[in-house]
Amino acid sequence: MFRRILISLVLFLEVCTVASQAGDAKNYRLVARETNIGFGALSLTDPYLSPLSYSGFSLCSDYLARSYVSVTNPNLSSQLQFDGSLGLLSNPTGTASMLYAGMQLGWGLNYHFRFSNHFQLLAGGLVDGQFGLKWLSRNVNNPVNMDIAANLNAIAEARYDFSLLKQQFRLSLQLQSPVVGGMFVPLLGASYYEMFGLGNMKHAVHFSSLHNKMALNSNLNLQIPLRKLTVMVGVATDSRLYKANDLVYRHHASYLSIGLKANVYQFGGSRNEAPSQFLSTDK
């Protein structure tokens, strides 16, 4: 009898322990990291440097890291992104060339609307800082113009998951457009010597919104699972049209892009040290 009671007690405790373990199961926030590179065509008009449109080829790269803000709310995610591009352009007659380098750093939040198991829409906002440099070496005293802007952007992403040949694929369309912000656009007659040498920056910094700045970044890609990674192939565009000081600036780039995506868990710092069963080359 005593043995039956003891065995029953041990079994009960075992079941309680398992149940307790199931109740304490911890959720972990993974970070979806995407890295893309692209090659394509770039055309731009910068009337501070030249009234002519310059066109040529461009290389771009972007990095995006996205994770849920909290493990208890799988509808709100944050994203950190960094883009960079380089371009070599020439004027329509091929008598002058221009170098372009640009970058953007942004942080934003998305809300996830799940309409079905196959279709998801993310929408939110992103704050970014942009810096670009255009160098028209032939010019005298105005060989360079800078693109400097800070924006609050509306962002959205549509995801459609589907199966084909027993493989899971995803079609994704990401959009980003500035709504309000500030930008640096010098007066046509003001030299950088006067602006930065003498500190006369009047009429160089402007409020921007849809009335004087229209821009759209898009990225349409097909995501193909490949072992532990996801390969992304697609097309991306970066279009900007803005006006200040009666000057109209235009920037349009189209890229064919390829990239990789992986979901990773981040250990690090003193608050989130890796348990001992995780072996790190950093240790």
């Binding site: 009337p47 030249s50 009234p51 005298v140 007066l187 007659g189 010597y193 006067e194 235009r250």
Partner: protein
Amino acid sequence: MKISIFIVAVVGLSACINEPEIPSNTNKGNFEALWTIIDTRYCYLEYKKINWDSIHAVYEPRVLNSMDKVAFFDLMGEMLAELKDGHVNLYSDFNTSRYWKWYTDYPDNFSAKLLTKSRYLGSNYMSVSGLRYNRIANNKVGYIYYPDFSVSFSDVHMYNVLTTFSNCDALIIDVRNNGGGLLSMAEQFASYFFKAETITGYMQHKTGNGHADFSKPEALRTPSHSKIQWERPVVVLANRRSYSSTNSFISRMKQAPNVQILGDTSGGGGGLPLSSELPNGWMVRFSSSPMFDAKMQHTEFGVVPDVAVALLESDENAGIDTLIEAAISLLISK
């Protein structure tokens, strides 16, 4: 419904940003583009009392689409020469137009050969970052020849040059035939001779397409260098080929204590030039931001020296630089 209102609003807002039309790449179109650039962006049309509309009336009938590019280029160069400005050039892939009368119509007052005489730089002079220097007049006077403001030198270079002259009573800075370069170098060079920051000029820029649309004058300040100071007498030698940034340097130095300008009126070039482009890819450079002296007088036609001295032919034939000798006399008499 809300989405369609949003789309209509966005399309309506985009209509606020209309890209300007570029003239056609024909001789007529390129003429109009060039004429308009000067009409809207050149800074001296009003100061020089140039009737640019009448220039259009004179030149437009002479422009034919059938002209070959060389003839068209020459005609456009002729039109730009009406501005009488050494900072105005038209650049093509076969020629560069220029206006040189700002110095060819005047005496040189300079001979590079004379500088190589043993009583001046000689052949064994010291040279660092564009500064050629030596002690002259029995080691009583330091002499610096600086021919190009686009060649930068550092504080260390200037410290070493002035240390070489530590036993000299005075200094001659020769910027004859210096066609200019970096405005920042003009400021830096002048800063070694000021005891306190001084307003040595003003600058404006175009704010609109009108010939009189200018910003408020912005003060051009010459700082006093915090570590390197030359406080003994200085003479700056100038001639008509002292142009652009050199003109700015002379204008600044005119306000410095213990400094006198000697020689000829400088060549001018008081307008900071910017560039633009024509539909055919030719580049045009033009004066865009006028600069003024401390009394708010234009420096486009040069800075008048404190002591006017011309190079005498008899001196030149005898291997003597009249201007350097006059500067030595002026400095030693002090």
